[in-house]
Every structure is written in C-alpha cells, then in structure tokens.
C-alpha cells in the first residue's frame, strides 16, 4: 500500500471533502455521502474518520464563523492536504494497476 494507508470509508470521506471544496464541514460531508452513495452515515463514524484523517495529515481543518443555527457553535471546515491528494492518487493508481492486470477473459461471462 506504500506509505499511505487508508481505508475504504476514509477514502470516501476524503474524496467528499475534495468535492465540497470550500464548504466541507460535518453536516455537508455527511449529507453529500448520503445522497451520492446512498448509504447511511452516523455523525460518530464520520467524525472518527475525519479525526483519523487529520491525524494522518491527509486533512487540515479550521474554524469558520459562528452561526445561530448551530447554537452558536463554529463550523470546522476541512481541506484536503497535499499528502491527502497523494494518498488518493496512490489508491487510485493501485486500483488502476490491478484493473490493468486483469486478463480480458476473466470478465467474459458469456459461457459462465
């Protein structure tokens, strides 16, 4: 896996943060994953993943302005770092290599 170890859910979160770009914070990430991938995401699971990614240095975060909607609490905005991008690229690269290595007949299901 190289120097970037990353799980499937972490990969999804990381990609979503990249997609949302300037607007990536807890709720938007959660909702984006839910609408795009049609899977349920709990705040807990997502928070842990974000936390872990930040510790690994794939994400960085900063606080935004406080808003009344959130009971006066600030939003924490996330951004993908350079090494986050490299991690994503490596995962994609790895997948691509694997895809390329599959012989054409393997997916030939005509006579299956």
């Amino acid at each position: 896996m190289g120097k970037y170890s990353i799980g499937e859910f972490e990969e999804v979160v990381l990609l979503t943060v990249a997609i949302l770009y300037e607007n990536a914070y807890g709720i938007t990430i959660k909702e984006d994953i839910e609408t795009r991938l049609k899977r349920k995401v709990s705040v807990g699971a997502m928070r842990t993943a974000l936390n872990r990614l930040e510790k690994k240095g794939f994400l960085k975060s900063e606080f935004g302005e406080a808003t009344a909607v959130r009971g006066g609490k600030r939003k924490r905005y996330f951004k993908v770092t350079k090494s986050g991008k490299e991690a994503l690229e490596e995962v994609m690269e790895a997948r691509k290599q694997l895809w390329d290595a599959i012989p054409a007949v393997a997916f030939d299901f005509k006579f299956g």
């Binding site: 807990g44 842990t48 606080f63 909607v69 959130r70 609490k73």
Partner: protein, 866 residues
Amino acid sequence: MSLQSTPPKIPLRFLRWFCHPDLLEDVEGDLAELFDSRLEKSRFKAKMLFVLDVLLLFRIGIIKNFKPFNSVINYAMISNFLKIARRNALRYKGNTILNLLGLIIGISSSLLITLLVYDEVSVDKFHTNGNQIYQLFRNMRQSESAVVTTESIPKPAADLMAAEYPEVDEIALVSWRMDRTLGAGDDNVTLEGRFVSPEFLNMFTFPLIIGDKNTALNDLGAIVISKSTALSQFGEDWPSTALGASIRLDNQYEVKVTGVFEDPGSNSSLDFDWLMPADQFINNNQWMNDWGNGSFRVYFTTETPEKAKAVGDRILDEITNHTVGADNAGMEQLIVHKFQDYYLYSNFDNGAVNGGRIDYIRILTVVAIFILVIACINFMNLTTARSERRTKEVGIRKVMGAQRFSLSIQFFLEAIVFSTFATLVAVVVAHLLLPFFNHLIEKNLFIPFGEPITWIFLIGTAVIVGLLSGSYPALLLSAMNIIQSLKGKVKKSVSALFMRRGLVIFQFGISTFLIIGTLVISQQLRYMLNKDIGLDKENLLALRIATEETEKLDAYKTELLKSTHIKSVSRNSGNPISYGRSTSSANWEGKDPNTGYEVNVMITDVDFIETMGMEMLKGRGFDNQFNDSTNFIINQVAADIMGFDDPIGKDLSFWGINGEIIGVVKNFHMLDMHEAIAPLIITCIDPSQSFVVMVRTEEDIVQAIEAIDDVTKATFPETNYEYEFVDTILEDSYQVEIMVNTLVNILAGISIFISCLGLFGLSSYTAEQRSKEVGIRKVQGARVSQIVFLLSREYAKLIVIACIIAIPFAYYVMQDYLSNFVYRTLLKPDVFIYAGLISIVVGACAISIKLYNAAVSNPVKSLRQE
C-alpha cells in the same frame, strides 16, 4: 423557530462530559444543525436521533483521555516534586530527622506488634477442618454465685454423643498432658504426651510422616511419637527403623511405634511428644466411666454452626439427666465452644465465654495504632509549623498556574516519599530488633518476607501513614493566598494553630493514657505476685515423680527428712497452687438438698498444713497422735457455704465417706487471681493417691536440692523426676500478664518519646520565631528562667489539658481491665497523679532544651540579623 428547538439536555451534557475538548465545539454544532433540520419533520424523531447520534459518538477517538491527573500532573512535574522534596529534606536536616525518627520508631514498633498479633491470631488455624471442630466444656456450680468451667468432661457424655447424636460426625477424646518415661535404647526420657482416641489423627491436622493415620492408634499397644522423639530415640535413620520398633513405657510395658508425626509447631495450642490410644488409659482408670467424673477433653466435628448450636442446645443438661438420684449429682451443664476460638477466648465468667488472650491482643493492637497515629501527628505538626518556609514556593507555583489539586498532590507525594523511606528503614530496624523482641515475648517470630501479605501490609502502611500525615499539610498549604504568600507575610491561620494545639493535646492525651495503663497493669501484676496467697511460697518445692510405685513414697519421705536441709515433706494429690479436683457429692448437716455444690477435694497426709505454711483459723491440723483418716479440714470459703457458726465437730461426707470437720484453714489460692477461691475439703484418707511431693527446705536451697536428688535417685533409680519452685510456678502462671506488662511499658515509653520529639520540633520552631522577642526581653533585663517559663507556657498548658482529658478515659478503661480479675488492686488517685507528672515533666524537658538554648543565646546575635 419554536421555543423547543434546543436539543435534549441530558444527552448533550453526556456528550460534553465525554467528548474530547478539541472536538467538542464543532461536533456539538453539527449535532445542533442536524437536530434543527430534523426538527422540521418530527420533534420526537429529532430527539431520538439526537440521542442515537450521541451514543454513536461514544467511541474511541472521540472520548477524551480519562487517564488520572492527566491534565494536571505529568512525569516532569512529579520528578520536580521529588526534587523539591529532596532539597527541602536536605536543607532542614534537623526537621527531617525528627520527622523520620518519629515515623521509623512508630512504624517499627507497630510492625513488631503486628507480628505478635498475627502469630497469636494464627494459633490453631492450620487444621484443615478446623472450623468444624468444637469442644465440650463443663460448667460446675460451686456456690450460688460461682461457676467453674472446665474442659474435663465425663467420658459417658462422649459415648452418648457417638450413639445418639446424628449431627455429630466424629468425636475425639484427648487426655490432659501426662508424663511418661519412654526408652528405646539404654536411656530413658520423660516426655509429655496425651492419650487420644483414634479419631484424633483424622480430626486434627497433625500429619504422620510415617504410619497410617487411620489405623495408627487402633491397637492398644500402639504409640505414635513426634519426629524429634524419633530422632532422639532411633537416631538419624529413624525413617527406616522407627516403624514397628518397641519402646519401653515406664519400664513396665512394651509398646510398638505405629507412626511418627511432625512436631506440633508453636502455633498449635495442643502440644504433645507422643500419642497413645485412649482406651489403654481408660482400661486402667475405670472411674472414668462414671457420669460424675470429668476426665478427657471431648472434641467433635459437625458440618455447620447451626448443627453445632443444635448439639449445644441438646447436650446442655445431659449430665444432670444421667446423674439424677446419684449421690454425686451436681448442678452441671455442658456447653459447646468452637475449638479455634478457644486459644483467644479461654476465660469463662459465670459459665459463659468472657475474653481471654484476645483482651491482650486488643490492648496491644490499639496501642500499636495509637503509636502510629502519634508519629503521623508529629509529621503533620512539624510540616505545618514550618510551612512558612514553603510559602514562597507555593506562591510561585500558584502564579505559574498550579491548581490547588496539584499542590495537594505535591504535599501528599512528599509525605508518601517520607513514609515509604521510613517504612523501609523501619523494616530493617524491626528485623534487627526481632531477636530481642522474641526473647522478651518468648516466641519465635520472624518477618515472612516470602509472603505477599507482608508486602501488601508494608506498602499499605507506607501509603496510609503517608496519606494520613500528608493530609493536613496538603490541605493547609495548598489553600494559601497567593499574594500574601508571595509577600512573605503569611497571616497566621488561627484554625491551623488550633489544629496544631489540638493534635499536641491528642498526642499527650494518648501518652498519658498509656502511662496510666502501664502503671495500673504493673500495679495489678505486683499485687498478684506479692499478694499473700495463704501459704508460704518461699523455699517450697513441688516434686513430680513419674512412678507407679506409690508404696515406696512413705520410705522416700522418711529418707528426705533425714537431710538437715529439709524441713518438712508432704504428699499431695496435686499441686495445691494449681488445683482442680472436685466432687459434687459433699454433704453436710443442713445442706439444702436442691442445690448442688462442686467442692474441691485435696488428698494429702498429716504434714500438709505445716509443709505448706498455711494458717489454721479454727480447730487443729492433722496430727499423727490421732486417727485423722476420716477427719477433714475445710477452707473459709467452704465454711461460709456450709454456714455453720462453728464448723468444728460437724459431720461431713463425700465420696461415701463419713467424717467430721476438725479445722478451718485460712483461704489460699488454688488458681490464679482471675479465679475466685473455691471451696475445699482437705483429707488424709488415702495417701496412695499422691502425685506430687511438696518439700519445704531450709534456707540453703542448693544443698537441699542435692539431698533431694540423692534420695530420689536412690529410691526410684529408674524414674525421672522434676522439681519446681512454688514461687516460680506462680510467676509462670502470670506469664501473659508479665509479657503484656513489659510490652505496654515499652510502648508507653515509645509513645511519650515520639510525642516529645514532636514537641521538641515545635518548641524549636517557637524559639526561632520569637528569637527577636527573646533578644529584646533580655536587653530589657529578663532572666533566663523567666524567658524559658514564658516561652514554654504555651506548650505546658497543652500537656496539662491533655492529662485532664486523658484521666477520665483511663479511669473508665482501667476499671474495665481490672474487672477481669477476681482479686485486684484498687484504682487509687496516685496512679493518675504520677502519670500526669511523668508526662508533664518529660514534656517540659523536651520543650525547655531548645527554649533554654534560645534564652541563653546572645541577644546581639538575634537582634542584629535583619
């Protein structure tokens, strides 16, 4: 937005509690936002989902670190605390030494006492089925108010239990300790042992090294011997030669060794060098088969305490029921007592268990705890008194952001470091002192370093002493006001001063209390040892000759009297100063037929009264010129019970013998002072039942003993004999009291010493504090004595208050202690006065040493330094 738009409180509070502070804000915000958006659909659902989300957030990665003190204390801080503690300790060496000395003495003496207590408590606890073993006791009513309790039980009671009590599993008969002469080779040795029924080896855990415990005692001619006996009789290769070997018993019989057991250790209350089958003894002593005669100890096992209680209820009146109408019917009851409790609870008062050694164990435990507390108080007082030195440190720490909690931790830690160090040294000290201590208490204690309990105990002591002695400084110093402490102007806290005085009062109160206790205990001891016991105990020997040839005793007596060093000789059925042979068959004119009295009977010869140096109050002693074989002498107690105005010439009968009373002897003590003097009949009817020969010697005891030795060897060449001095026996019977007396003496000394160490520290603090004042006073012309008096007044007052408080407590407790003795010394005020004076004088010395130094020092020195 509706008013109820806020998320539910309880889960939110939970979240705030567990969530890592770095994450809390935005997580909470996310949840709030989510809640709001869900609120539009359904409020209930929003709340439920909120709770669910909070619960799902409760996971690793979100939960904050709950490591203890993590936020306040870390390794660097702790090492800093330790460094500062070390520097402070080294800088104020005097103070440190006082602190440590108190703690070391306190801990090491408590440690030794704990060893003793542990040893006492563990006696008889090694038996595998120990908690199922019970023992029968017999209460004998001696008069309207007095009940004597004995462990000798009529053998038929044991037979009855075996036949009719299904709840009893096993019964073992155990005889009293008897001397028997054993010989395997050429030499004979006299050893003490017991006759026991075969179940004994099964019931108690005395494992056989060789032999089968189930069959060893089945054969009448069998003997089981201890390992040490086997070693002395059969040499090093006893394991191969002893089994089946013959041993000569009393030079008359041959018995066969059927087993060897490990010697009963010092933690067994049952002690013996040999065991033989009880039936052998019973066959030679048919009187044992009578309900009226107590003989063996009876032990039995039963599964549960409930069953034991049932047995106890049922067996209570068996003796009375089986002796109805018999001429020796007494008012006797059987009671059940747990075997393992007997060692510590062996005193019976009026037929019920009332303490025993446990009383001394309790006294010593309490004293040991007191001493430890006194040592802790020293630590507290010295540390808080010297707290000014640390105020700047505390102030700076507070300014740098130290919280009160971390300051408390610091002082606790310091105290624990001190107490740990003290404990380590104390263990070494205790280990070094152990030989002396063992000599003192005549035991063989050791510190069991191999056992985890020792380490748990030591660590526990270090921690508890540390927490206790650190508690007050930690509380006080951490609460200081920052600004004042930095200015170096600490307002003297009034409550701290009161507390310190209170603690000094407490220390000296306990010390005074202990001194009073010491004085009373030794006064009672002296009273017991010196009381006129009704006979002349000087130059009096009791000889025990293990022989069956009683017919030779008359000639023996004549031979002894030929020596010029021997004044008189008398033969007795037992040693008169520890006597317990009794009958309930005594009858006299006007005796109430409904009351049964247990009266002691002593069988002697005509020379008894003279040899013992007893005093006749009425009538005459036995005389060779008369035929006195059916004439009796009674003691005062018996005379009172019988109620005659003049007992001389009155008819008296017992054991079916009719005779008349010819004299009343002054009461003498037949047992120790815990017991009341029992009624007694002295007769010279059958001198063949003599086991003990009492010899009154002239002043030259050494010559007398030589003469006795010669005569005994000539008359009974085959037999061993023992002699004891009556005054030594008396002293031995107070062995426990003597030991406790010595220990309490020492402990009281230690407690006052530690208290004085503390006082010394406090007074030197005062001397330092008030050095300027002393200087000015001296310049103004004050005399040294005036200054010492002025400075010491503060502490002297405390000691006086302590004495005043201690005296009523001590009075109450010592009254209770003395009530254990039937014959006791009076509590007189002088004891309290002496004790008070001792504490005041000793305390005053401790104070004045430093204060005197301060008072004589040159005032220029103290006034110049600024």
